[in-house]
């Protein structure tokens, strides 16, 4: 965005390097962007909270919140207002400073990620050249917030949740990080936009279908992301049936809403990252990044919007998958969670990195092999999706139900 501001200054007839207000303008725009991004995060989290409830309800043969606004869409606003107006209780025995501070740590760790998350071809706050590294680093701040909240609550349930969460997030950062290294290897850059540019608009150009190991890496990343986001089947830190509510047991009102804002906002983060790293991000078919850069005027705006829609579409699909998983799977136990990380995902992700490196050498030598593998994997995935759809329809008919997507919403 710096270039854009610089060009703005040049447009006003100043040289950005010498104009005395340049830095202030930078600061003002930083504040503006921060405001926009945090609001985006908060609103998307709110909308996801509504969407998750509707999706969960439908999956459970229920209706869900459908009274406030059309389809109950304003439910999240009502809930947010309620949470903001509720009394903010601090338990008498709690460490009140840490207790009050913990949600902000989580918010910071969560909001900072958005700095490097792309939204479309041009929409990104800062396209850092170490973007992925930065994202992995700042998400660790969430753990600090969770541990603070669990410890300061002075409740055993909160402490349990916090310790579980710390173990879980720190463990799963390793396979998650290693899995992200595979697209980094394939693209040769840590910049998020760079990784997207290295892919293409068609599914066979995506990194997920690049080779079997990146295919596996996608799932390793996705599982780790679920664990880092405390989503089922890794919702141990707030395991409702075991720990009451985990680390946020003692929170109420606005501070409680921060925790949930982070949880639901994280769904966007993990999905957007998956889209960026493995699914071609905002790439449009028939339009290579270079052609995209060259567009001007109305076509540029239209393509920008289209890329935004593509990116959001892919991301929202994964948000849906995250919800769908949550309402399907049981929760794993804490030792199984650790087992899974260290015995399954970590070795697999390390092996994946090594194999992808080797695969790149092979493809470099025999280029048609790379394309053949891409088409085969894409074909396999397509067949898998089709089989899944058929299986789902069979499930539906087996119990004598009719296909009905429209009624009783």
């Amino acid at each position: 965005m710096q270039e854009w501001i610089d060009s703005l200054i040049r447009g006003w007839g100043h040289d950005p390097a010498t104009w005395p207000w340049t830095q202030f303008l930078y600061l003002a725009f930083m504040g503006l962007f921060a405001f926009i991004v945090i609001n985006f995060a908060a609103i998307s989290a709110g909308i996801f909270s509504w969407a998750e409830r509707r999706v969960a309800a439908r999956m459970q043969s229920r209706v869900g919140p459908n009274r406030v606004g059309p389809f109950g869409f304003l439910q999240w606003v009502a809930d947010a207002v309620k949470l903001l107006l509720k009394e903010d209780l601090v338990p008498a025995e709690a460490d009140s400073v840490l207790f009050r501070a913990a949600p902000y740590f989580m918010m910071v760790g969560f909001a900072c990620v958005f700095v490097c998350l792309p939204f479309s071809h041009r929409l990104i706050v800062a396209d850092m050249n170490i973007g992925i590294f930065y994202i992995i680093a700042v998400t660790a701040l969430i753990v600090v917030g969770i541990i603070m909240s669990g410890w300061s609550s002075n409740s055993k349930w909160s402490l349990f949740g916090a310790i579980r969460s710390a173990a879980q997030i720190i463990s799963y950062e390793i396979p998650g990080g290693m899995a992200l290294m595979i697209p980094v290897l394939l693209a040769g850059t840590l910049s998020t936009q760079g990784i997207i540019r290295a892919q293409g608009g068609w599914p066979w150009q995506w990194f997920i279908f690049d080779n079997p190991f990146s295919f596996a890496a996608f799932f390793i990343y996705f599982i780790s992301a679920l664990a880092e986001g405390n989503r089922t089947p890794f919702d141990l830190p707030e395991a409702e049936s075991e720990l009451v509510s985990g680390y946020n047991t003692e929170y109420s009102g606005m501070r409680f809403s921060y925790f949930f804002l982070v949880e639901w906002g994280n769904m966007w983060v993990m999905s957007a990252l998956a889209t960026t790293m493995f699914l071609g991000g905002w790439q449009l078919p028939f339009l290579s990044p270079a052609q995209f850069d060259a567009l001007t005027g109305f076509p540029a705006v239209a393509a920008e919007l289209a890329s935004l829609a593509v990116f959001a579409g892919k991301t929202l699909f994964f948000v849906f998958v995250v919800m769908w998983l949550r309402w399907t799977l049981p929760r794993i136990r804490v030792d199984q969670m650790m087992n899974m990380c260290w015995k399954y995902l970590v070795p697999a992700s390390f092996a994946g990195v090594i194999f992808v490196a080797g695969w790149m050498l092979v493809v470099h030598a025999v280029p048609w092999l790379g394309w053949a593998m891409r088409f085969v994997l894409t074909g396999v995935a397509t067949v898998g999706v089709a089989m899944f759809a058929l299986r789902t329809m069979k499930n539906l008919r087996d119990t004598g139900d009719k296909f009905d997507f429209s009624s009783n919403w």
């Binding site: 999706v55 309800a57 439908r58 999956m59 459970q60 043969s61 229920r62 209706v63 769908w324 998983l325 309402w327 399907t328 799977l329 015995k343 399954y344 899944f388 299986r391 789902t392 329809m393 499930n395 539906l396 139900d401 009719k402 296909f403 009905d404 997507f405 009624s407 009783n408």
Partner: protein
């Protein structure tokens, strides 16, 4: 399909176990996620009660549904069988007794059901002889204050309700559509709490109290009836009528006879000497019957008691009188038919069937003609009827329960 998912578990090697775990996991997730996804495309089962249903939910409830209780006072015989059947005493029926001439023999001055405490078991419905008490399909009655959950089927204590006298042999009884009465009685959500007086206040009221408005003086009435009975001493049918006057007249059958006629006839015939069988009549009926029987035996109406009988201390008075005669019990002196009337009269006459006979008449006949020795069965009559029956049949006081 499900069985295929769970092949017998052998103990594979480390790599085999690794691969197998991954495969099983993927496969079972595949199945599970397919099931949940398929529910996205099914109609949710939820009924959006209360406002988004095709028909009101009340109309979708089966007929046997046990909702709020409803009593149709137009067909209530005041036999109190429901009150006795209720395991948790949520029904409170209070009976005013009259002489049957100027005032009806039984009047219900209170029929309260605490539906806040009711457990909707339906046991009260079963013994009701006329189907007056029923469960409705009403279930929405939330009120802010618990005390407002009491349904008062006698709206005004100053206007007691006269019980229904079912025609003989009737099998169907008129009843207004189920639910209307209860619906009218349910209070609004924010109805004010009834202003219950404290115990002290009521005690004061009772201390100032005269005899209950509309209440009869059983002692005086008993003497009146006794005089009348003496005059028709040998005319059993007439005697039976006199005796029946002393009874509640609900034909409840609690006495074991089909109706009050049966009981009074049994006493009149001398077949039944128990005076305590009239459950609805209670202590009053008992004391009146005692008085009549005593006077029949002694040939003279017992004199005015020294102290005014207005204190309504009827039971001790009656007992005092009952002890006075030393002759054989009525069962031995009276002919069967007359005894039958006497006995029937001693019963509550609600035909409630609590005694396991169809009605008071049956019980009376049982006692008088069939040698039924259990004189404790008249539940509506309670202790009064018991005392009377024992007096008539055995000439003794009943053993303590």
């Amino acid at each position: 399909m499900a069985e295929q998912l769970a092949p017998p578990r052998q103990a594979p090697g480390a790599v085999g176990a690794y691969v197998k775990n991954v495969r099983d996991t993927a496969k079972s997730f595949w199945e599970g996620m397919s099931v949940t996804l398929s529910y996205m495309f099914r109609k949710p089962i939820t009924i959006q009660y209360p406002d988004r249903t095709d028909v009101p939910v009340r109309d979708t409830i089966p007929a046997r549904y046990r909702g709020f209780l409803e009593v149709d006072m137009d067909t209530c015989t005041a036999c109190q069988a429901c009150e006795r059947a209720c395991p948790i005493a949520v029904i409170n029926i209070d009976i005013l007794k009259g002489d049957g001439k100027t005032t009806p023999k039984l009047r219900m001055e209170r029929f309260d059901i605490d539906i806040g405490k009711c457990m909707y078991c339906g046991l009260c419905v079963e013994p009701c002889p006329t189907g007056s008490i029923q469960h409705t399909r009403e279930f929405e009655g939330a009120v802010e204050n618990f005390d407002n959950l009491t349904l008062r089927f006698v709206p005004d204590v100053l206007h007691p309700v006269v019980p229904y006298k079912p025609p003989k042999g009737a099998e169907a009884f008129p009843r207004i559509p189920l639910g209307e009465i209860t619906r009218a009685l349910l209070k609004a959500w924010d109805a004010p709490r009834p202003a219950f007086p404290s115990l002290e206040e009521t005690a004061k009221a009772a201390a100032h109290g005269k005899p209950k408005e509309g209440a009869l003086d059983p002692a005086a009435l008993g003497r009146q009836l006794a005089a009348k009975a003496l005059s028709v001493k040998d005319d059993k049918p007439k005697l039976q009528k006199v005796l029946e006057e002393a009874m509640a007249g609900t034909d409840c059958g609690d006495c074991g006879y089909p109706d009050c006629f049966g009981y009074s006839d049994a006493i009149a015939q001398g077949k039944d000497t128990a005076t305590d069988k009239c459950a609805p009549g209670g202590a009053d009926s008992k004391s009146m019957l005692e008085t009549i029987l005593v006077s029949l035996k002694t040939g003279a109406v017992p004199g005015e008691p020294a102290k005014p009988a207005a204190s309504a201390a009827s039971a001790p008075a009656a007992e005092a009188k009952a002890e006075a005669p030393a002759g054989p019990p009525l069962s031995q002196t009276l002919p069967k038919d007359e005894l039958y009337k006497v006995v029937l009269d001693a019963m509550a006459g609600t035909d409630c069937g609590d005694c396991e006979y169809d009605d008071c008449d049956g019980y009376t006949k049982g006692i008088v003609y069939e040698g039924q020795t259990d004189l404790n069965r008249c539940a509506p009559g309670g202790e009064d009827t018991r005392v009377k029956l024992f007096q008539i049949m055995l000439g003794t006081k009943p053993p303590p329960k």
